[in-house]
């Protein structure tokens, strides 16, 4: 454990609690074992809706964060079973660009995301989160279907 981990293969996976993101996480655990790398579990806390009530906003923000923390606890337990180390991070912003920023910032070698599909008509026009990530990420991207 004393060896510097800077040379280790760094894998990041986007986890939002959806079925497809858990599938991506399972794949990421396998890849990390295979490469003897480090796994970053990244969850994006999207900004809450504007409201007339400050308390409403504060409560919504807290609930959103607690949900993501819950996901990380579950992810950590599964990772420990597989005997790998994870770095869990929550960042804020738009999911695609926040993930890409994280990848750039942390020098990730491989980013794994689930295929979320189109959430709406707008989604079909603008592309899925996964498509945006593929276009902008500086590293290899694996989309799990």
């Amino acid at each position: 454990m004393t060896a510097p981990e800077e040379n280790k293969y760094a894998i990041a996976v986007g986890l939002d609690g959806s079925d497809s993101s858990w599938k991506a996480f399972e794949e990421a655990v396998q890849q990390t074992e295979l490469k003897r790398g480090v796994l970053h579990v990244v969850s994006i806390q999207e900004s809450v809706d504007a409201s007339y009530s400050a308390t409403e906003v504060l409560a919504a923000e807290k609930t959103a964060r607690e949900r993501l923390e819950g996901l990380h606890i579950r992810a950590r337990m599964q990772a420990e079973e597989a005997g790998i180390m994870i770095v869990a991070a929550i960042t804020t912003g738009n999911s695609a660009s926040a993930l890409v920023d994280y990848v750039k910032h942390k020098h990730i070698d491989l980013l794994i995301v689930g295929d979320t599909g189109h959430s709406s008509i707008w989604g079909a026009l603008l592309g899925t989160t996964a498509e945006k990530i593929v276009r902008h990420a500086p590293c290899s991207v694996l989309i799990v279907r």
Binding site: M1, E6, S47, A50, Y52, M85, V87, H105
Partner: protein, 555 residues
């Protein structure tokens, strides 16, 4: 040089984003201010004057980046009840606004502003729910095209007699407006639903030439500032009204500041914010405007549309001024039922539905405080409601304290145990780990010891705070803890928490201290904390904006 740098940081750092943010905030503000003005009984123009004065002045002098100020639900409810109690002399309402501004400046200078953050949550929740309910009740008559009342009791008494007098065209317009307000966000949240409702309802009424009450002429341009003329005998009600406005405006504004901190990642200055709000209210009182406060919706829309500095709030005010100059002829055609529909949606939204839905799962003492505050807010007096709520919450807190004195945790350990726990950690790291065992409730005294010990540490890289024997923490304790953590982090020292009980964590969160405590730096046992340090040493050090820690790998 630092003066210029500070100036450009406050006002000129993001000019483009501030312009778009200010524009979007003004678009949201316009219908609201007209509606608040009408609801207060002081006229639509008063709402706009308040938004212009507070919007510009509070933004320039305030302590929260991207804050947009103007008339809000609570401030309007107070102004309406003041206007209802001095029907023949509205000048007294503006005098109260002026006095409120002076009091807020005093609150800011004497630094009592920060105390507002220690308002118990059930009090705020009950208060906001009460305000929401008042707005809903006083808007029922205007919704069906009848004149409204600023007093909730009068409004309630009138409800049974409304049915025979309903103006059907007015009811149709308000239903149409409500449908737009609630349906548009389902299509896209980026469309300003209230403005669309306002414009379409006005156009509809104009084309169909419906016979329903309208705003009427709005004088173009701002009135000249002048001191309200009041008699010495009026001083008592004016000061009382001013106190209520000052106090509620402070709560309203600083809650919004807290929201903005979360959204922008900035840290606001509460006392500076109160000075800004005070100056804004003085300006508003002088031009016969409604009292204002930091407005959550407008500020959030501002940030989401790119606003970042104080300039954005001022832009929002200036744009409203531009609208006022050109609005006159159009505004006279705006139907009042549409404004009532807008306010109804505001009232519904500021009620704390989360707590109302979860009453059974909320601690009983919190529910009692909330319901008492709710009742007093609606039927007695806003200030009495808040003060009684604080008093009740304090009494219940003391009771909790005496119930919780016995700790279930025991933290005796032998040196041998400690040695075994730490033997696998390399010596140079071991020497940089400090632990601090806290015993008993973390009140001011204990926190002071903690803060003093901070300054004596040198070369510490990890501090393990052991909380298992802490059954309670009070606000001062939480604040002292927060500043201690800040100091440690400035020394690049990582703080880990062991045995932090959930209710203690909740208090830390409510006071804002949790900003500095990541869930992942909390551990059930000392051993787990050491494992985490071990794991942390083994991975490259990552900085900054993203919070993280590592979980230990299984051997």
């Amino acid at each position: 040089m630092s003066m210029t740098a500070a100036f450009s940081g406050r006002y000129l750092g993001h000019p483009i984003g501030d312009l778009t943010g200010g524009l979007m905030a003004a678009i949201v503000a316009l219908p609201l201010c007209l509606a608040f003005g009408v609801a207060s009984g002081l006229g639509a123009a008063a709402g706009l004057y308040g938004a212009i004065a507070c919007g510009i002045v509070a933004a320039i002098f305030g302590g929260t980046r991207a804050q947009c100020s103007g008339p809000t639900g609570p401030m309007t409810v107070v102004a309406a009840s003041l206007a209802a109690s001095f029907p023949q002399h509205v000048e007294l309402v503006f005098a109260s606004v002026l006095v409120a501004g002076l009091i807020q400046i005093l609150m800011g200078i004497t630094k009592v502003g920060t105390l507002v953050h220690y308002m118990p949550y059930p009090v705020i929740s009950g208060f906001m729910t009460g305000i929401g309910a008042i707005i809903i009740f006083i808007e029922i008559a205007p919704l069906v095209g009848l004149p409204g009342s600023g007093n909730v009791l009068e409004a309630l008494q009138e409800i049974p007699s409304l049915f025979n007098r309903v103006n059907r065209a007015a009811l149709a317009v308000s239903a149409f407006s409500l449908a737009l307000i609630y349906l548009i966000p389902r299509i896209s949240k980026k469309i300003p639903a209230t403005l669309v409702a306002l414009v379409s309802a006005t156009a509809l009424c104009h084309w169909l030439s419906l016979d329903i009450p309208k705003i009427g002429q709005i004088p173009s341009g701002l009135p000249l500032p002048m001191l309200p003329q009041i008699h010495v005998t009026d001083l008592h009600p004016v000061i009382q009204g001013g106190l209520t406005l000052a106090f509620l405006g402070a709560i309203d504004s600083l809650l919004t500041s807290l929201v903005l901190d979360r959204v922008t990642g900035d840290k606001h200055n509460s006392n500076q914010e109160l000075i800004g709000q005070g100056l804004g209210n003085i300006a508003s009182g002088l031009i016969h405007g409604l009292p204002g406060a930091g407005a959550t919706m407008r500020s959030m829309v501002n940030v989401k549309s790119g606003g970042r500095t104080h300039l954005s709030g001022a832009v929002h005010g200036v744009l409203l001024l531009a609208v006022l100059l050109g609005l006159g002829p159009v505004a006279s055609a705006i139907p009042l039922p549409c404004l009532a529909a807008i306010l109804l949606s505001v009232g519904i939204s500021i009620m704390d539905w989360r707590v109302l839905r979860n009453l059974r799962r909320t601690p009983k003492s919190d529910v009692i405080v909330m319901l008492v505050v709710l009742f007093l807010t609606m039927f007695v007096d806003l200030i009495i409601a808040v003060l009684a709520g604080i008093a009740l919450a304090s009494v219940l807190f003391v009771k909790q304290l005496s119930d919780a004195q016995t700790s279930t945790f025991s933290d005796c350990e032998t040196i041998e145990e400690l040695r075994q726990l730490t033997s696998h950690i390399p010596e140079n790291i071991r020497k940089s780990i400090y632990t601090y065992q806290l015993n008993g409730p973390l009140f001011f005294g204990e926190a002071k010891n903690l803060t003093e010990s901070v300054d004596q540490l040198t070369g510490a890289r990890y501090i393990v705070l052991r909380f298992s024997n802490v059954p309670l923490i009070d606000q001062t304790g939480a604040m002292a803890l927060e500043s201690a953590i800040e100091k440690w982090e400035a020394k690049r020292c990582k703080v880990l928490f062991v045995g932090l009980q959930p209710h203690i964590r909740k208090i830390l969160e409510d006071t804002g201290a949790i900003h500095r405590i990541d869930m992942e730096n909390c551990f059930d046992s000392f051993e787990q904390a050491l494992e985490a340090i071990d794991a942390f040493e083994a991975t490259p050090h990552l900085d900054g904006t993203i919070t993280e820690t590592e979980s230990p790998s299984k051997e």
